[in-house]
Subunit: 187 residues, 4 copies
């Protein structure tokens, strides 16, 4: 069983959330960063990365929320999966996602909605995060899981130059564990 975590990170914030999820998912998790070097004149060209995803049992998509949606670099990657879509090579795999931004809301829900749509075009099975709402946890917000009240996937929030809270990272770690358990069950 293998869990691929494919993500774009501009400043390291989304990367830190990807790493927390990988930690929770365990040794089967592989981190696959999207970088500008893979993009030539607006097209994603790294066929080897796409092949790694096709070989995985579960794929988690991660991206910052830029200007109200997934980063252009991530979307460029998503567009390169058109041939995989045509053959439905990812159908039946588990999918999930995560995003970060500077604001509490910051239109991050729209990014998660997009990641769902991408997964559904591929015939995948979407698994969101289910740590209960942090407001009811009785814990201080900086260590509470799911302090932002996000369900479709994991959201992380940090002002520019700041790290994610311990609680946001722990939410990611719990999410990774959920994905790994389900991937094992569906295998």
């Amino acid at each position: 069983m293998s869990i691929a975590i494919v993500y774009f990170s501009a400043t390291g914030t989304t990367k830190s959330l990807a790493e927390a999820i990988a930690k929770g998912a365990g040794p089967e998790a592989v981190l696959l960063p999207i970088t500008g070097k893979q993009i030539v004149e607006g097209r994603f060209t790294d066929e080897a990365l796409l092949a790694q995803l096709t070989a995985a049992d579960a794929i988690l998509f991660g991206t910052p929320t830029f200007m109200g949606g997934p980063a252009g670099q991530f979307k460029t990657f998503a567009d390169a999966t058109g041939g995989i879509w045509y053959h439905q090579s990812w159908a039946g795999k588990i999918a999930g996602g995560f995003t970060t931004s500077g604001s509490f809301s910051g239109d991050k829900q729209g990014t998660l909605q997009y990641l769902v749509t991408l997964s559904q075009q591929h015939g995948m099975i979407w698994v969101g995060q289910n740590s209960p709402n942090g407001l009811y946890s009785g814990k201080p917000l900086d260590v509470a899981l799911n302090r932002l009240g996000s369900y479709t996937g994991v959201m992380g929030q940090a002002a520019p130059g700041q790290p994610l809270t311990a609680g946001d990272l722990a939410t990611g770690e719990a999410y990774g564990a959920r994905i790994a358990a389900l991937a094992k069950k569906l295998k």
Copy 2:
């Protein structure tokens, strides 16, 4: 294993799609209609129906798209699941959805997005429809599966007073079969 199909239908169109999905899902499927009688001063009151859903292994949500979203009757039902949400009693169940409207697009995608969000608040696992795009099937559009190009769930389209196409209904039937197979696997 049991599959609950909870839906609202005003004119019978959504009901016909619910029945097609039930046919595909097999004898374990149960049709649970939402009606105006269950709604008192804007609140859904049928606790027995909610208990039936809690007992099911998979729940499919169905509603027409009215004014760009789920019917008010359906949304009123969804609001009544707040207590179930608080206890996360539906977490881990399979979820899916379907919608109908008079137009080809008709903002039906927004309704499916809402059904996903509802399922994710409940910690459920979303399974969309994966019949390939009907445009590439080589079949006449009225019998082609997925002629509308919908993935997150099943869309049906019919002008007022007309039935759904044979293809839309067959898309529903194939979707029911997919849900049943996955529910069995995850049980």
Copy 3:
């Protein structure tokens, strides 16, 4: 010139935001609450309220976010505008919206997206809120305008039993002023 603010409020939180917006919009603003009494067997029946909206120059839509979308009571109201939609009687009017929930994100963006869709089916012109992101304001978050980072409309957040922050209410007031200025210009 007149500005109608039509909203549903269950606990008073959304009402407090509606009142702040009305204050900002000035004496031309009228508050029109949706209540359970107007809903009979799941259908909204208050034709007089609909006529008041048709007479207005701008309509602002407000609802709590319940289970990831507009409250069932609000959606039931929206469905009752189908006849107005058919005749496009609201085309060209200014539209806007606001929502509240207990969490920072809480899927409130999906509710605002729905309010946009409703307005667009009616051919209306959508005006969002444009107080800049509160994270860059240098003010404490409880008094900062737009502390949640919402643009499509105004979001308010308060834990159960708590009032909205002074900043959330001030964001509403600034939004009301923006709507009033544009409604005057377009008149």
Copy 4:
């Protein structure tokens, strides 16, 4: 008064819709294509194009729907407007949008929702398309305006290698005229 139409087109379909809108908008319309050449390692670099948009009274955004969202090239352009967002230089301008895909639905609504979100982050005023639903027009679907039932913006649909219908193009032309009239009024 000037109307900028900024769009990405891979095969010419979205370009044909952009041209129809420009025709409807009249001599004040300027077509500004996004191309892969403007994108270096995943970042949009054409500052002159951004300056042209800042000088316009209205901006229309156009993109195909690829894998359920705006094309990566378009999203990369959108991300390059972050500095403009910070200074809210586009606040108060009119915005609108259009998208094309091969399917009737094809998740095009999600793309239009994204274009709305982008415009709202910029404090712009969203104007959708308001040609009435083509199903009620009594005309054959290939010449009917708004045959797809789209309101938030204009949708065009064409199978691979086929042109848009005369009706889809005429819907674009009517939309251009609506935008031009409102831009004149708000100037």
